[in-house]
């Protein structure tokens, strides 16, 4: 088995230490960071994403795989930066102001990272100003918002209105998701995409970044 396949398999098993060791070994053997990332780590996460979508695995298995991927990608980050390799896209993500629920948002973040996106997670209870400031700071492609409550989902419109007022609406794609959110709500508030689950959110984010 090639070392890249081995990285992918250990990642799928959630074995963080093994992934770290194998990534280091691959670097030492002279493989490029880009190849290790794409054909080892992201290939493994892609299988995880598919299995999750097909209900072959569940949230805990996805989370430990993502944790293993992060351990491997930490080693690659400086090498990727010095080689000028850029992420597939940049996403600023958070749960909107007034809402403290985060597991859905965390799963979306992990799935997006598994697609090679650079994700900046602002956590929960995030204001419009915080979303905009972070997106400007990191030169994001996408602002992604989550809400679990019917009383806080309206905050998504507040964020979009603030983005418009700042003259930035054409700069950022806006994604929304969460329990009460629907496609019709997405249209009503002028977001670019609603996705009903984490795997679709990650796929949609990649498409939106590619289309920019």
């Amino acid at each position: 088995m090639s070392i890249l396949n081995e990285i992918s398999e250990k990642l799928q098993a959630g074995n963080r230490n093994a992934v770290k060791e194998l990534v280091q070994k691959a670097i030492d053997e002279g493989l490029s960071a880009k190849v290790i990332l794409e054909e080892g780590l992201l290939a493994g996460m892609s299988i995880i994403g598919e299995k999750f979508k097909n209900e072959e695995i569940y949230i805990p298995e996805v989370m430990i795989a993502a944790r293993a991927m992060n351990a491997g990608s930490e080693l690659l980050k400086p090498l990727l930066a010095s080689a000028g390799v850029k992420a597939t896209g940049k996403v600023v993500i958070g749960t909107v102001k007034g809402d403290l629920h985060d597991i859905g948002k965390n799963i979306v973040r992990m799935m997006m990272e598994g697609k090679g996106l650079e994700v900046h997670d602002l956590g929960v209870d995030v204001s419009a100003e915080q979303f905009i400031a972070k997106a400007n700071e990191v030169d994001a492609d996408i602002i992604a918002m989550s809400a679990l409550l019917t009383t806080t989902m309206t905050e998504m419109k507040t964020v979009i209105d603030a983005i418009k007022a700042a003259g930035l609406r054409n700069k950022y794609k806006i994604m929304i998701g969460g329990g009460p959110v629907t496609e019709s709500f997405c249209k009503e508030i002028g977001a670019d995409a609603y996705t009903p689950d984490a795997a679709t959110a990650a796929e949609t984010a990649v498409k939106l970044c590619a289309g920019k």
Partner: protein
């Protein structure tokens, strides 16, 4: 009021009418004019709301309040309250073997659990025409609130024995809490275990249903039954949910009831699963009527099916939608 719940279950199944038991306690606040904040802190106000709902609507049982933060609060979790939203647990109080081992198991009646027991006692003595069900969280969901739900998802895979020690403490408290509901006069209890819906069927059994099985074996009898609610993707978990011994299973709107009902034993009640947010809170009365009719049509061949909402209905859901829910059941039965 004490009643034989075994006979009640049999009568529900034998009924020639389609029956309903939505979880609508929070929208009931519109009948008593209280805020959520007043409500979750006062057993008397909860009782007034439960009684008002029982007087207005033809539900087969009265259901007390479920906020799923009261139990964690007893263990020491911080809870964020707001005027019109259901309380939420903030942060975590255990993070490793040492803190789990040091965690004291509280007594039922600590903090706001006292209010839920008061509301149950008042409701059980005042409402005579139907059973009164208490409500509490499930052991894995409670452990998730104490440990942080995202982190418990990983640690259960990496340090399973440590997480099981925490679930065991949650279960110890919940067994005593369920017994306290029984002692307060409830005829049963709805146990909400949403976090188990995020797990594989095998892990849900290992980290939740095995513990529930013990709680149910200790507390359930002819006068007091358990209804197990899981609003996650339970399509592949039904046999494990049944193995807990609960007399009823309550399903969320993440699943298609036509895939669930063939799996449920015919002597058990199966509740579900009108979307409480997209239909009851955000939809129109016509949306509610359409959804109820469709679900009743799809489930017509299952006498053990009881129409319900897929989860707790959010506060401030329009009462006209609740009216439409019950009118649709009435119309269906009188076609």
């Amino acid at each position: 009021m004490k009643r034989n719940m075994d006979s009640w279950v049999k009568n529900v199944i034998a009924s020639d009418k389609r029956l309903a038991m939505p979880i609508i306690t929070y929208p009931g606040l519109a009948l008593t004019g209280n805020t959520v904040l007043e409500f979750v802190k006062s057993g008397k106000k909860q009782f007034e709301c439960i009684r008002a709902l029982a007087e207005k609507y033809d539900s087969i049982a009265a259901v007390t309040v479920m906020d799923l933060s009261a139990e964690a609060e007893c263990f020491g979790s911080q809870v964020r309250f707001s005027e019109n939203e259901i309380p939420t647990v903030i942060g975590k109080i255990v993070s490793d073997e040492e803190s789990i081992s040091a965690l004291a198991v509280p007594k039922p009646g600590a903090f706001r659990t006292a209010e839920y027991l008061i509301s149950t006692e008042l409701a059980a003595s005042a409402i005579a025409d139907r059973p009164v069900f208490g409500g509490m969280i499930g052991p894995f969901s409670l452990a998730g609130r104490l440990f942080d739900i995202t982190e418990i998802m990983m640690e259960m895979m990496l340090e399973p024995e440590m997480i099981k020690a925490l679930v065991a403490k949650a279960a110890e408290f919940l067994q005593a809490y369920a017994q306290a509901f029984k002692d307060a006069g409830a005829n049963g209890i709805i146990v909400a275990e949403p976090a188990a819906g995020l797990l594989s069927p095998e892990k849900s059994a290992e980290f939740s249903y095995e513990y529930l099985k013990k709680i149910i074996a200790a507390v359930q009898d002819d006068s007091f039954i358990f209804i197990l609610h899981n609003c996650g993707n339970t399509k592949n978990q039904v046999k494990f949910m049944q193995s807990t011994g609960a007399r009823g299973l309550h399903f969320g709107n993440a699943v298609d009831m036509t895939l669930i009902l063939p799996q449920v034993r015919s002597d058990m009640l199966a509740f579900g699963n009108i979307d409480p947010v997209k239909v009851i809170k955000l939809g129109s009365p016509n949306d509610v009527r359409r959804s109820v009719r469709e679900l009743l049509d799809k489930t017509a061949e299952y006498p053990n099916f009881v129409l319900s909402t897929g989860c707790d209905t959010p506060p401030a859901s329009p009462l006209e939608n609740i009216d439409a829910f019950f009118e649709s059941v009435y119309d269906y039965n009188n076609r």
